[in-house]
Amino acid sequence: MLAAFFDNIPLMIMLVGMLVGIASSLVGTFLVLRGSSMLSDAIGHSIVFGIVIVWLLTHQQSGPIQIVGAALTGILTVFLTELLINTQRVKEDAAIGLVFPVLFSIGVLLLNLYARDVHIDTHTVLLGEIGFVWLDTVTLGDFRVPISLLSMGGMTLINGLFVLLFYKELKLATFDAPLAKALGFAPGVLFYALLMLTSSTAVAAFDAVGAVLFVAFVIVPPSTAYLLTNRLWLMFVYGALVSVLSSVSGYYLAVMWDVSIGGMMAVMTGVFLLLAFLVGPHYGLLAQMARRREQRRMNENRTLAVHLYNHESGPEQAVENVTRALREHLHWDAAKARRVVQRSREQGHILQNGEWLYLTPAGRAIAREILEPTQL
């Protein structure tokens, strides 16, 4: 039964995709919230340098040493970037864009020089091939388990534990770094730990999805979640959900069209982001438009109520509180005036008798809420 599970190639591929997504969005959530998303791009590129160096020293292409090496490279990238920023000669974004190409270039040149006949070529590093994860397996008891599944499972576990253990501290450091510092936490150390985990995840994931697609899994699911909720823990749930959905749908679409599986999974994260952007319940574009329209209508109703209230039982009531007056005094055209009057009537703010308009008690309350807000 379990053997069948591990021999099911599509399932293994989708599972690795999901784990890449979940592990990445665990750390990515904090990067997106901090406004440092592009650091994942820098780390994703510069681990090429770390991978090559570790390979030159130990001739190991994967495994724990590579992951530690990548973590150090990630730290090096961030350290160099912050060093540049601290000189105050270079802005943050320029500093990021200066450091990782240099490390990446050195990595590529070292590959050119020393590593012609190895399996690490720059294409694999950049693109990965998730379709082949089932080729590299280890025997665990009676089962042949894909290595990627193990390493991604491990990374997901580590990242999950980190977030769980330091949830409170991470939350505080992300949303209010000065307070975190004042309370004696070390937001800087936490941040570096987070980036170390990001780089480790990148190396564990690069066999499967490569350095650039990794960026999609780090940034896009948390951004999607950010468009859907204000609660931090819900962001993790949504991020994981987007990862799972993207992996499954990406796999089947890729098989259908016979294209890169990892690429399609990353494209699907983008599709879900676009969906959240357009039809998200609160921050979505449509919801925003609906809210704005609702606001506009409410304001029209209020305007009418205030107008009627001002002239109620005054001498000019006969001139002002008739439908005709709305055109001249409020500068509404006939269609708009009819619309507003009808809506106000339906909502029980006014009564209409021929030409004449009267406020109901509810309508009067609305007008007074605006005119005498302090007396309510």
Partner: protein, 381 residues
């Protein structure tokens, strides 16, 4: 091969000219991007060019440079537009917008690349060279296209110089003058996409980021004026490009793109360290110098105050006491004061023969100490 043969080599000529063109356009346009804090736009646009490259290939059915570059330009511009729409209409910040468009467009490019590979079109070869660039495959006809784009972009910069300058430094003021700020923004962005298009063949999508940023950052260290910065960035870009290209031609087998990036980045390093005024080395020297001056002035006033406390202008202060007072060795500062004639040295008194001796202010030292104290007092007021 002699030097002359070498320079007449068709491939090397092409690569060198291409690298020079790339350095020129990315130096000039990168200056504006860096000043507008949009450094990473080049990174995003170059990754986002990949799907355009593929679509250009699919439409033309062959590796036609014109249609490929047009596709790259269009998809780069689309990505920039998407990024603007995302960040303007939602709570996502710029960094997330950049990262999202970069990664999803690139993923789409990867998908299209594999789709093209599935079409079994014989002429697809080398399409993925756009990932890392393949400078050696540059043809003369490619150079004409790259040259045309560069000339057009530079012409536009010259034509709209004043407007671009204003938008880069003070967009609010530009808007109040009635300039179409949004359109100028869009134009500058599209022009970075142009630079990216020129760089695709030379350095590839991954390393384009540095090509946009590095010459501008290096030039910024040497010049306070936009004119100077843009000119210098162009010079640095061109010479870095040529140097990298020649280096890779000399060392057959080393990729051109990374070598170009490394040469331009070394200029950045040198500029950060040694540029006059902003250079880091000079700042360290200045800091050290003023720290020393402070030290010897402090020692001088300490001597003065000791003398004043004892109401004796020829009071002999023991060096050990001055050291204890300042918490560090004041040997250097005292010798400096001695050289300037502000203090004189006396042998240690007979009752403590093993100490470093005693110091007494000279009249010149007295008045110098008074001058320092007075100027300090003025600052306090």
């Amino acid at each position: 091969m002699t030097m002359l043969d070498w320079l007449q080599d068709y491939t090397i000529q092409n690569v060198v000219i291409g690298a020079a063109l790339l350095g020129l356009i990315s130096g000039v346009l990168g200056s504006f991007a860096v000043l507008r804090k949009q450094s990473l736009l080049g990174d995003t646009l170059s990754h986002a060019a990949l799907p355009g490259v593929c679509i250009g290939f699919i439409i033309a059915g062959t590796r036609n440079m014109g249609s490929i570059l047009l596709g790259a330009l269009v998809s780069g511009a689309l990505a920039a537009l998407l990024m603007l729409v995302l960040t303007r209409n939602s709570r996502l910040k710029t960094d997330a917008g950049l990262g999202i468009t970069l990664s999803t467009f690139f993923a789409l490019g990867v998908v299209l690349l594999t789709y093209i590979q599935g079409m079994n079109n014989a002429s697809q070869g080398g399409l993925d060279s756009f990932l890392f660039g393949q400078a050696a495959a540059t043809l003369r006809s490619d150079l004409w296209i790259m040259g045309g784009i560069t000339v057009a972009a530079l012409g536009l910069v010259a034509l709209l110089w004043k407007e671009f300058k204003l938008v880069s430094f003070d967009p609010g003021f530009a808007a109040s003058l009635g300039l179409p700020v949004v359109w100028l923004d869009v134009l500058l962005t599209v022009m970075i996409a142009l630079a990216v298009v020129v760089g695709l063949q030379m350095v590839g999508v991954v390393l384009m980021a540095a090509m946009v940023i590095a010459p501008a950052v290096a030039a910024r260290q040497w010049s306070h004026r936009l004119e100077g910065m843009v000119t210098l960035a162009a010079v640095i870009g061109v010479s870095g490009g040529i140097f990298g290209a020649l280096l890779s031609a000399l060392s057959r087998g080393l990729a051109t793109g990374p070598l170009i990036i490394l040469s331009v980045s070394s200029v950045v390093l040198v500029s950060l360290l040694f540029a006059p005024e902003r250079g880091f080395v000079w700042e360290a020297v200045r800091l050290r110098r003023s720290r020393r001056r402070l030290r010897y002035q402090q020692v001088l006033t300490t001597l003065y105050q000791l003398a004043a406390a004892h109401a004796d202008s020829t009071y002999r202060s023991g060096q050990g006491m001055i050291d204890t007072y300042h918490g560090i060795s004041t040997q250097r500062a005292l010798h400096k004061l001695h050289r300037r004639g502000y203090v004189v040295h006396h042998a240690p008194p007979p009752e403590e023969p093993n100490t470093a001796g005693q110091w007494v202010l000279t009249p010149a030292g007295l008045s110098e100490a008074e001058r320092i104290l007075e100027s300090l007092g003025r600052e306090e007021l």
